[in-house]
């Protein structure tokens, strides 16, 4: 793969990380009932979606990668716009973090909640910010470098406490790191081709590749087949091992903390539905509406 394609992939991967972490910040705020964080985080995130639309043609499904390189080039004319957008996001995110860092309601909801001890983490092997928040230093960009990460390595950010607050801080600091890498990648971007000439792919070859997605390490295993098609493709998304760690994280916490603990591993999100509480003693079923749940969370 030509070097320019690697740098373009890195730039887009980091832009995706920025948008994903800001989305998570908003959702986390929404789960605990702190709507201001949701609104402001998503407002800050919006320019990067527009930027990606300009670069790739779509806000989320970039469709840039092909076997051998990337489809579209990031022209030098686009660099100033990219740098402008990420710099603005950096400034606004700093402002937001400054405002909410001292907020004691957030501390009460997020500190010492959903603790994942390092020993449990070593046993269950979760990945991404979930495990970096427990002090374990693993990151596919550093352990199994791909794209241009040998030339533009990120700083590995870990926090020792293992609670939801630690994971939040890891994600926020990673966002700033991503902004730094985007600027660095654009600075160092080599010129040249963006697509290698790929001929027929040899059959019965195995390949493993790691990508550090915003949620953690995603791995792809491919066994090539005889008719220029894959014979076996195995994908493991980062939420797979992270979800296995959830029961351990839930133990010993209050019910009202269950949504934010599950949310702290950053599974894929949408909006709230209702939930049923079955009281086995009185055999009564009570359905809590979204507002009631949120009130329950806020009262705590």
């Amino acid at each position: 793969m030509p070097p320019r394609a690697k740098y373009i992939r890195t730039t887009l991967l980091e832009l995706e990380r920025i948008h994903s972490h800001l989305l998570w910040l908003g959702i986390a705020g929404h789960i605990i009932g702190f709507e201001t964080v949701l609104m402001q985080a998503w407002r800050i995130r919006e320019p990067v979606m527009w930027l990606c639309e300009q670069i790739t043609g779509n806000r989320k499904t970039y469709g840039m990668n092909l076997i051998g390189g990337v489809r579209r080039d990031i022209t030098t004319g686009q660099y100033p716009k990219i740098i402008e957008v990420v710099s603005k996001i950096e400034a606004q995110l700093k402002e937001l973090i400054n405002a909410i860092a001292g907020d004691t309601t957030l501390h009460m909801r997020l500190k010492n909640v959903g603790v994942l001890s390092p020993s449990a983490a070593k046993e269950l092997c979760p990945v991404g910010p979930t495990v970096r928040g427990s002090g374990i230093a693993i990151d596919s960009r550093i352990n199994h470098p791909y794209a241009s990460y040998l030339e533009t390595p990120p700083k590995l950010i870990t926090k020792p406490d293992g609670d939801v607050w630690a994971r939040t801080l890891v994600r926020l600091e990673e966002t700033f790191e991503s902004i730094r890498i985007v600027k660095l990648a654009l600075e160092q971007m080599p010129s040249g081709e963006i697509m290698a000439d790929v001929k027929e792919i040899t059959p019965w070859q195995e390949g493993i590749s790691y990508v550090e997605a915003p949620r953690g390490e995603a791995i792809h295993y491919v066994l090539t087949g005889p008719d220029n098609r894959p014979y076996r493709w195995r994908v493991r998304a980062p939420s797979y091992p992270n979800l296995q760690a959830v029961p351990t994280m839930l133990k010993g916490n209050f019910i009202a903390d269950a949504p934010i603990i599950i949310g702290s591993i950053d599974p894929c999100f949408s909006c709230t539905e209702r939930l049923e509480v079955v009281d086995t003693k009185t055999k009564k079923i009570r359905v809590y509406s979204q507002d009631e749940l949120r009130e329950m969370s806020r009262k705590r």
Binding site: L23, R232, W233, L250, G252, I255, I262, E273, V278
Partner: protein
């Protein structure tokens, strides 16, 4: 930093007779085929050395070797190595020792290999169905090559997964199956005592779309790239 050959030598010394073949097709990537009886001890050894369990892959290699292949992939993060421990399993007797008892991280991976490919894991602590739907018939393994990708077997709801129930006075607090705040339907069966959570059981994979089967059966490499992009929209 441990090199590929150093690791292989280490394993052959500690487990004589275990290794059948080794391959190093690319830097930092090792594939070791071992005899089935050694699978639990080799994987446990790797884990004690600091290897992180990544995933297991079950491949139906009826077209070239005629056997089912089970690969456990480990990552030695500090040494930047990927080690894949492979074993071959016969179709006539597709069973092998489970590594989940010594490696809790492999729990789901083995359950999925059982659901999709029909490999029995002897000694698995929780051999319930994981990824297949509640009404999927037993003994029908979708990822095998003789199963067409667009075939829907008749429903068999008697195979529904039985979820755990806690001992009283604890009660069940079901969060799901349409989970509040998660995109996917997911069912966290939380066990509570008063307001404290004491345990949890999970039923997921309601959104299992069979993309691996589709890629194996009908797509070219460049098409798989676009399919992979649409696994998740966030």
């Amino acid at each position: 930093m441990l090199s590929e050959h150093e690791l292989i030598n280490q394993l052959s010394e500690i487990f004589p007779g275990a290794i059948v073949t080794t391959q190093i097709p690319a830097p930092k990537t090792i594939y070791i085929t071992i005899n089935n009886s050694f699978i639990s001890s080799v994987c446990h050894h790797l884990s004690k050395q600091g290897a992180r369990f990544v995933i297991s892959v079950a491949t139906d290699r009826i077209k070239d070797t005629g056997k089912l292949e089970l690969s456990h992939i480990f990552s030695l993060d500090d040494d930047c190595l990927t080690v894949t421990v492979k074993t071959q399993v016969d179709f006539s007797n597709p069973s092998i020792d489970s590594i989940s008892a010594v490696l809790p991280a492999a729990n789901w991976a083995e359950r999925e290999c059982h659901d999709m490919m029909g490999i029995e894991f002897i000694g698995h602590p929780d051999p319930r169905r994981l990824t297949l739907a509640d009404d999927w018939p037993k003994d029908v393994y979708p990822l095998r090559k003789d199963f067409p990708y667009n075939y829907k077997p008749p429903p068999a709801p008697e195979n529904a997964v039985k979820l755990n129930t806690p001992q009283p006075p604890a009660s069940v607090f079901p969060v799901g199956p349409f989970y509040p705040v998660l995109e996917e339907p997911a069912y966290f069966r939380v066990f509570v005592d008063g307001e404290d959570i004491i345990g949890c059981d999970y039923r997921g994979f309601y959104n299992h779309r069979g993309i691996e089967k589709l890629a194996d059966s009908a797509l070219t490499y460049n098409q798989v790239v676009f399919l992979a992009e649409r696994i998740c929209g966030i």
